[in-house]
Subunit: 193 residues, 2 copies
């Protein structure tokens, strides 16, 4: 299976690649160093659009450079704002939303996603999700505050109606140091809108 269940980030990419098509509207809720942003930009192509959020200027700048170098800038709207405001920027339903929580790799570890804003963003993304659309959330329970953030999200996610959403959670159970975990939310075809 060439690493189908290798790690959380890997699973998020496989799930997103299986759902997102050219022309889709998608969200990178945490653009960070731009790795998910460019991945999404290549999937949706010129006729689609990626809305990518980060609260840190350095993240927006790094992502901009990565997109420019790969000629995918025009597929992306970069937004320096908290992802909890995502509904202010996106007028349509979305096909996918990727969250990669925690701090910016190589950045200031004291600046990180927090459970209050992440939960707001997640609630909004869930409401905006199109039929068959997916949300992926990569959690870092090994980071300071990461387990608490995961616990808060789990309360919300476990209460989503199973008529409307399939919610699965993957853990890597034989690794040391609390490795990342991933939750996948898929809007069920034919569920209520």
């Amino acid at each position: 299976m060439s690493g189908l269940f290798k790690n959380a980030v890997n699973i998020s990419h496989q799930v997103i690649a299986a759902v997102v098509e050219a022309g889709d509207i998608v969200v990178d809720a945490t653009c960070g160093r731009g790795h998910d942003t460019i991945f999404l930009a290549q999937l949706v192509g010129e006729k689609g659009k990626v809305y990518a959020f980060d609260i840190q200027g350095i993240a927006i700048e790094t992502t901009w450079e990565l997109l420019q170098a790969n000629k995918t800038l025009e597929n992306v709207v970069l937004i320096k704002d908290n992802h909890s405001n995502l509904d202010s920027y996106i007028p349509q339903r979305i096909k996918a939303c990727m969250f990669n929580l925690g701090y910016l790799p190589g950045g200031d570890h004291s600046i990180k996603t927090d459970k209050v804003n992440t939960l707001k963003a997640l609630e909004k993304a869930t409401k905006m999700l199109d039929n068959n659309g997916v949300i992926t959330i990569v959690f870092y329970p090994g980071h300071s505050g990461g387990q608490e953030e995961l616990n808060s999200m789990m309360v919300y996610l476990s209460e989503l109606s199973q008529k409307d959403f399939e919610v699965s959670h993957v853990e890597f159970i034989n690794q040391i140091n609390d490795p990342p975990q991933i939750t996948i939310v898929q809007k069920v075809l034919g569920g209520s809108k």
Copy 2:
């Protein structure tokens, strides 16, 4: 993703299909009504071999009929014995082993897999696994004794060396009635034999 993370049985089939090739030696540790057996028989083809175990005659008989009707009997060795003895029947390394625990659907619910024999079978399957090979285990925590069986396996699985095995566990967190869960064990390429 057309249900990549729809349910535990569905995930087990996707993982197995991504790994098992024509000519492989594989195991159905719990043949039951034969659904996994025929799935494996079709994947390995005439040059491969499926060793399929069940303690109940009715399961062996039902599976035999299903295989015969689908002209895949010659790919399969049906064994009416406890899967804890699987090493007595299989001389080679195995590419995959599927466990679907609990009782026989439509059968006597008091006859079911038990944590002692399941653990023995799992330990043996783990040792016999070829590089890149996988074990899938579908658990039924909603059945009587199912949660206890799951807990016993988790202790063993969480202690497998991460140098040699990638072990992931998937739960469906927004469903009522304790839905099935799945664990996937993959032998790491290049790990110790």
